[in-house]
Amino acid sequence: MEVNGQLVLTVLMGLFLIAVAAWLARVENWRSYTPLAGAGAVGSTEQYVSEEKPSGVIRWLTTVDHKDIGILYGAYGLIAFVVGGLMVVVMRLELADPASTLISNTFYNSLLTSHGITMLFLFGTPIIAAFSNYFIPLLIGADDMAFPRINAIAFWLLPPAALLIWAGFFPIPDVIPAQTAWTMYTPLSAGVGSGNQMNAGVDLMLLGLHLSGVSATMGAINFIATIFTERNEKVSWANLDIFSWTILTQSGLILFAFPLLGSAILMLLLDRNFDTMFFAVEGGAILWQHLFWFFGHPEVYILVLPPMGLVSLILPRFAGRRLFGFKFVVYSTLAIGVLSFGVWAHHMFATGMDPRLRASFMAVSMAIAIPSAVKTFNWITTMWNGKIRLTTPMLFCIGFVSNFIIGGVTGVFLASIPVDLVLHDTYYVVGHFHYIVMGAIAFAGFAGLYYWFPIYTGRMYQTTLGKWHFWLSMVGTNLTFFVMVLLGYGGMPRRYATYLPEFATLHQIATVGALILFVAQVIFVWNFVQSWLEGPKVEDGDPWDLADDDLVTSEWHWFDRKLQTAIADGGEEEAELATDGGERIDDSQSTSDVSSDGGDPVAETDATSDE
């Protein structure tokens, strides 16, 4: 039996490798990287890489173009958002009633774990990477990312990571989903005791998390290199845009935080599988908490700084003014970046740590409110007396500021040791951080998705549906998460599938709020997909009329140039419109048109081979 299993696996692996080699041999001309020899064969399969992108699925599998990778990141992030969202809908339905009626307690725990990890690592980080991949090179005038292939590797690590993290839910024999919560506290996650967390499902989840960390680190190195070295000569540090600043800071945080998470996860895997004793001995549990939160709190700022950058970029465009106190917004970003590494133990006030240490962490945690408030006041002041246009992206920006204030102020209370000792591990904490992750981070993501929709789709979304999406999201968010703050004051502990009947009303209100959020996201998905396919084409390079207030940024100039050249050279979609009275051009012709438009293909391949 054992031998047979190994044999089958060997054969399958061998076949897979042969298939890979065969496919590579087909798309990649192994023998020659100097296509000069085939100068007469423009458009043949051997030359697929030089002047144009291959077509169909192959294009998406092989692309190293930052814009394509940005779109891949975005699609990936939104799919993960759907998965994580549906998970929490099931959980909220279960919580509509105090007893465990809809799903088992263990399944609730599994969903809780996966919802957290999915939203933070598979939605949050990738959706930010979607914006940064697509727009940072455009904003700073770079040709592409500094390391385009590393960029592609970083993306392609994510799908296997998601499959591993969700592996427990797939019908694989003897594998169950992890129930460790996203914090993976030991000894539970080390598989100690009589629980079922020694299961391979937890190992797979840890491997997936490790992969997503590797991916984030590769991306961060790439962004640091890109922003430092690939800027256009006109872009100096003094006029670097605010979004690039936040991505640069975020990348710095990733560089210090994620490798630590990776190491801690490897240590945990060694504990689970190779009988090491990192976290099993006396003090091991507290060691895990220190290591995890030294990563975990910077992770909060890794997730929130770029959305703050998006809001700082988008909000002034619809306020008709430049960002108030630009320099101070940049300084506060850097300050948050530095301070974020000095606050981690505020997650551990209740562990019985040394009170003197605790006080210092309280002080730094309170201090981080200052740069955050600087930003908030700058956004408000930017809008003050401005010429406000309540477009959908602007609404999401204002919603961001509003929710960020509630999420931030509840956070200041939690930073205070005496308050924290009362509210620790209650729904108050859940309400607080969801105001930030859903109310702020996701809102900023939506703002970006709507604001740049014309650029990456070439079309316009349906504005009425966009507003429905905003208002339902705003109401749903505040209903769900404010009720959680109240539940926390009432003493409702977090992470449970069941609760005392006295909490029923508030829990039901939260469930209604979650369902409103669900409806809002259905509208969003419909609007997004339908408008992408059928929305009216954008023909103006400045669809938001930013030029009126002299607020155009370079990605819109790029878009404008793209629109104009697309019409001039009859690029693919408008092919039949642009030919003057001729017949419809079929696909193959129009593709070769595009390739020959770029000038002399031979000269270009020459340049490539010289590198």
Binding site: L9, W23, V64, P160, V214, W558, S609
Partner: protein, 121 residues
């Protein structure tokens, strides 16, 4: 989508290797963690082979053979550490060593039978 004006004109916009680098890592990780010999060997081959392809494609190395040999040396060292030191993960170590050996053989075969057009600079 049409090509961006002034962007990426002189760069390759596609490469087949990143997907396989990214697939090789989890396959070999699973193979090594759960002691599944074929997955470990196959995953490592996929990973290191794709790295070699990537290095060659981007022009960081002149010959595929040399990068394959260096990568197999790294695998030999890692596998040796697993087998012959106190770590004592013998089967996993042999998986890494076998992967290194196959890679070496692959490198030699590639050198002997596949004609690479060297760049004439």
């Amino acid at each position: 989508m049409d090509e961006a004006p002034g962007l990426s004109d002189q760069y390759r916009t596609a490469s087949p290797w990143p997907v396989f680098v990214a697939l090789g890592i989890p396959i070999s990780e699973i193979g090594l963690l759960f002691d599944l010999f074929p997955l470990a060997v196959g995953g490592l081959l996929l990973f290191t082979g794709s790295i070699a392809g990537l290095l060659r494609e981007s022009g960081y190395v002149e010959s595929t053979m040399r990068s394959l040999v260096v990568l197999s040396a790294i695998l030999f060292a890692f596998g040796g550490a697993l087998v012959f030191t106190d770590v004592n993960l013998v089967t996993r170590g042999y998986a890494v060593i076998v992967a290194g050996a196959l890679l070496l053989v692959g490198g030699v075969v590639f050198e002997l039978f596949v004609f690479e057009q060297r760049q004439s600079i």
